[in-house]
Amino acid sequence: MTEQTPNPNPADVPVDPPFTHSASPFIRTEAPAPVAFDSRPNQTPTAPIYSTWVTYRAQIEFGLTMLAYLMVLVGSVTVLQANPEASWRYYVAVLPLIPAGLVIWLFMRSLARLDESQKRIQVQAFGFALGATALLTFGYGFLEGAGMPHLSWTYVLPLIAVLWALGAAVFKWRHR
């Protein structure tokens, strides 16, 4: 004769713990699968002393050169106003071209450092600036013929710069 155990009371049956480590449900039981690739590239620790110079080097150089240009320009104009009849006035008048040439050199260097899609954006922006400047200057030339006041040629460069900046912003936004 065999003894039969009665059905245990369900309330007395121990409940399986929902986690293998009941003290902390967040402890992982299995290590994550190894990844064939190495992890993120080594992040160089930020050096607060140098980071501003490294990050904004081009902008700082550009700003300083523009400052030099403005200083030479103001100095040149002041000297010319004080000596309107001097024989060397033409040399002084073109003196601001030296820092302006430096600005162009810095600009070309920063263009050469762009990657391929950024260069494409710049080409589109330059194309827009060139076309829009041609259109506006040509249009105003016709208006001058009809009686509008004559404007100095020195307005052309700022116009190109403004249109280039506008084009760069628009094409950069479109590439986002």
Binding site: A36, K172, R174, H175
Partner: protein, 67 residues
């Protein structure tokens, strides 16, 4: 051109900036490629293939030619 860049990058848990740093391009360029707004040059496509250890055809898929 379609590409699987975002999927491949997500598999490795790399951010756009991580991938850009490996490729030597800007993060905006990686984003433009991923969103299909810019098709990379052949050298950059090869760099991508090397980075992900895959064939170029596994990353990029040419659009069907219109008749």
């Amino acid at each position: 051109m379609k590409n699987r860049l975002r999927v491949l990058r997500a598999e490795l848990a790399w951010s756009q900036a991580d991938l850009a740093q490996r490729l030597g391009v800007s993060r905006q360029t990686v984003n433009a490629i991923e969103t299909g707004k810019y098709d990379p040059s052949l050298p950059l496509a090869f760099s991508l293939a090397r980075t992900f250890k895959r064939q170029i055809e596994e990353i990029f898929e040419a659009e069907a030619r219109r008749a």
